[in-house]
Structure formats: structure tokens, C-alpha cells
Symmetry: C2
Subunit: 134 residues, 2 copies
């Protein structure tokens, strides 16, 4: 069911410094900051030949990654995102096998304008998994 790894998301305490590390010492192609107020984050994408790294920083009050950065003040890998063909079919399959879907189970429009869901990390070895309809 899961397809491509769409991205790895890394929560960072200083977005400009993180971008400079990926552009400089790591020598990757790094984009410009994008504010996504409806998601409570500012993101910078790092383009790799086969996937992307999404650098995440809180934007505004109540950001969904604020708590993570409080617990991990140096930052850390926040989630991984796998593509699926049909987000509703994916949800039903996972729920039918007992996996917990975060929120009310209704896909919402994610940071890339496509329907997404998040799976409870307690059901997947401590890994927060985002599913995005490709």
C-alpha cells in the first residue's frame, strides 16, 4: 500500500541556521522559507535526488510542533511521510487492522495541498507517520 517516501520532516529550533547547514556543509539544494499559517509552521524544503527533507519551524501560537521542540530543544526528526494512492482506502485498511488515526480520522489538506492523515506513533515503533494521497 505505501508507496514513495514523500519526505522526512525535521523540526528545527532555528530555521535559517538549519537551512545554512544543509546548503553549506552538506551541500544540498535548499529552497526558501514558506509560511503555512493554516498548519502553524514555516517550512524549507531540501531537495534530494529521490526525496525531500522538510525543515519545520513553529509559526504562530499553538503550532503542532511547539511541544516537540520543547521536549527536543535541539530539534529532531518529527515524522516521515509515505504516499498512498487513495487516502480513504488507506485509512479504512489501517483502522480495520487496529491502527489509530490521529484526529477524527477525516483526511485534511496537508502542506502540499493534498489530503493527508497521521498515524499514532504508539502503533508504529515510536514513528509518527503521515500518509499523503499522491
Amino acid at each position: 500500500m505505501i508507496g514513495r517516501l514523500n519526505h522526512i520532516a525535521i523540526a528545527v529550533p532555528d530555521l535559517a541556521a538549519a537551512a545554512a547547514r544543509y546548503a553549506g556543509p552538506l551541500g544540498a539544494r535548499v529552497g526558501v522559507p514558506q509560511d503555512l499559517p493554516e498548519h502553524g509552521v514555516t517550512v524549507i524544503f531540501v531537495d534530494l535526488p529521490n526525496t525531500r527533507v522538510e525543515l519545520l519551524h513553529p509559526l504562530g501560537a499553538g503550532s503542532p510542533i511547539a511541544g516537540f521542540l520543547q521536549r527536543n530543544p535541539n530539534g529532531g526528526i518529527h515524522h516521515v511521510c509515505y504516499e498512498v494512492d487513495d487516502i480513504h482506502a488507506a485509512r479504512d485498511r489501517l483502522a480495520g487492522e487496529g491502527a489509530r488515526i490521529l484526529g477524527d480520522g477525516t483526511p485534511r489538506i496537508g502542506a502540499h495541498g493534498k489530503p493527508v492523515l497521521f498515524l499514532h506513533p504508539g502503533d508504529f515503533d515510536g514513528t509518527l507517520i503521515e500518509l499523503e494521497q499522491a
Copy 2:
């Protein structure tokens, strides 16, 4: 400098259960367990169309992931691995920019039979980065 994302490594407390989750609810192509005693881990690869997930479980005494699982008993994302063309050139570039290389800075042969290095997570937003010569 960094190229493809070679893999994401997830440390798991129960390798068979983790593999069953990726093969079952997530519907991915999951390999068979491989003991790597010289690395202190047993691994199972999950093949995605564009990269791999490496499920890691401690093998033997003194496994390099034992401490991580003690701190994260449910498991968690342990590291990400980026490919580089020349591991020595990568090391020199990173060290020259002040990044700390783990160990004595000498590339060793990694789990895939290729030279690897690990970068200190304190220099990369709490992310343990492995570099593998492709």
C-alpha cells in the same frame, strides 16, 4: 554534496512485530531478518519505490542501538543515511566547516559493505546523519 537518501533507520523493540506492521497494515515489501554481528544489529529492510526503511534491533552485547531503545522503549527513528560520492572528501568538507565526525573520523565499512561515517546529531538539529559512499 549529499545525494540520494539511502535509508531511514528505525530502532524497534520487536523486529518481527515491526516487520508485520509494515507488511500488513502498511502493505510494504518487507525483507527477511539479517544478523550483522559486526554492527551489533539485526536488520530488516522495507523496500519503497524510491528508498528503503531499515528496521533495526539490537544483536548481542554492547549494541550501538541498545541505549537508544532504553531511552525510547517504544522505538523511534534512529538515523537517516545520505549517499555521497567520496566519503573522504565529504569528511574533510564537513570537518572543515566545524561539524563533528563520530569516532576517530576514519570511515568504516557499514552494514551495506560500503564506507560510512556518522555526524554528531548536536550539529544537525538533533538528527543523527550517516553518510555512505555510494
